[in-house]
């Protein structure tokens, strides 16, 4: 089973990289773009046929390693 995982900064956490990307987009003329926030995208394969068990494993991976919940949120979807 394959999952995609999105890790994004929580609202209110400063994202200087997102801000720099936003400024660069402005510099190349795409000036109506605003509030760019940068995050992380993972794909994960789980060797498990039971979907609920697989989801529990992915959630655990997010909580224990992929995201730092002090500053980040995560969400995931089954893609295969």
């Amino acid at each position: 089973m394959k999952f995609e995982v999105f890790v994004t900064l929580k609202n209110g956490v400063l994202d200087p990289q997102g801000k720099a990307v936003e400024n660069a987009l402005g510099n190349i003329g795409l000036s109506s773009i605003k509030n760019v926030r940068q995050g992380k995208y993972f794909t994960i394969e789980v060797d498990e046929h039971n979907e609920e068990k697989a989801k529990t494993l992915v959630k655990s991976s997010c909580e224990k390693l992929l995201a730092n919940e002090t500053i980040e949120n995560f969400k995931f979807n089954k893609i295969q």
């Binding site: 400063l14 720099a20 390693l65 730092n68 002090t70 500053i71």
Partner: protein
């Protein structure tokens, strides 16, 4: 007094801190991150550097390595731990200290001497300094922007856990004297039990006047006191 310095792939201040510890007569052993056992010691040091190339988040990979189980046991028994720079990042990722170190506000690697205000001198790491003493210690980091939620910041203040703050020449703590955007100008904190310190400045880089300063000595002198 005995010290263990943990060496991760990518640590680059491990030997510097060994030299500093030995200057203050701490018997120091270097411990590889994959070891599952750690010799008994009074102090464990998580050194500066770029453990695991800062993959995923700074300090994250190191916080999951074998030796960290032993480091956590040492912490729970009340043993002393110092984490400098990347070591501070590892401590927050392990959960031994609250908060997280984000990318510097202005996106630049900063390598320079900074002024620090000793906010709390009643910890085992800062007793040789005077309260509100201004000291000069270098920083060298890209991710030193300390961040924590409001509740955590309130707790840090209430429990006197903020040890070092960035300040200016006149000991003023404000936005101008904040090099990296840290909440409350935080440069170093301790845990509630005050046996663990995490700090972005590098005290091991200023224990010899020939290297530009000796203000870092107080950290080691306090420990051996």
């Amino acid at each position: 007094m005995k010290a263990n310095v943990i060496v991760f792939p990518g640590s680059n201040c491990d030997r510097d801190i060994k030299v500093a510890l030995e200057k203050f007569q701490l018997k120091t052993k270097m411990i590889w991150h994959q070891d599952k056992e750690m010799p008994k010691s009074d102090l464990v040091v998580l050194p500066g550097g770029f453990s695991y190339g800062d993959y995923l988040r700074c300090g994250c990979m190191a916080s999951k390595s074998n030796i960290m189980c032993e480091v956590i046991k040492h912490a729970n028994k009340g043993g002393f731990i110092i984490g400098t720079c990347n070591g501070f990042q590892i401590l927050t990722e392990t959960g031994l200290l609250p908060g997280v170190l984000l990318r510097n506000k202005k996106l630049k690697f900063i390598c320079k001497y900074v002024n620090l205000l000793v906010e709390n001198n009643s910890t085992p790491f800062t007793s040789k300094y005077k309260k509100n003493q201004k000291i000069k210690i270098p920083i060298a980091h890209n991710e030193g922007n300390y961040f924590a939620g409001e509740k955590t910041l309130d707790e840090l203040e209430q429990n006197d856990q903020i040890v070092l703050k960035y300040c200016d020449e006149n000991s003023i703590v404000n936005n101008e004297s904040n090099p990296n955007g840290s909440c409350l100008n935080i440069a170093g904190i301790v845990n509630k039990k005050k046996n663990i310190i995490g700090m972005m400045p590098h005290p091991e880089r200023c224990v010899e006047s020939i290297l530009g300063g000796t203000d870092g000595s107080g950290i080691f002198q306090s420990l051996i006191n």
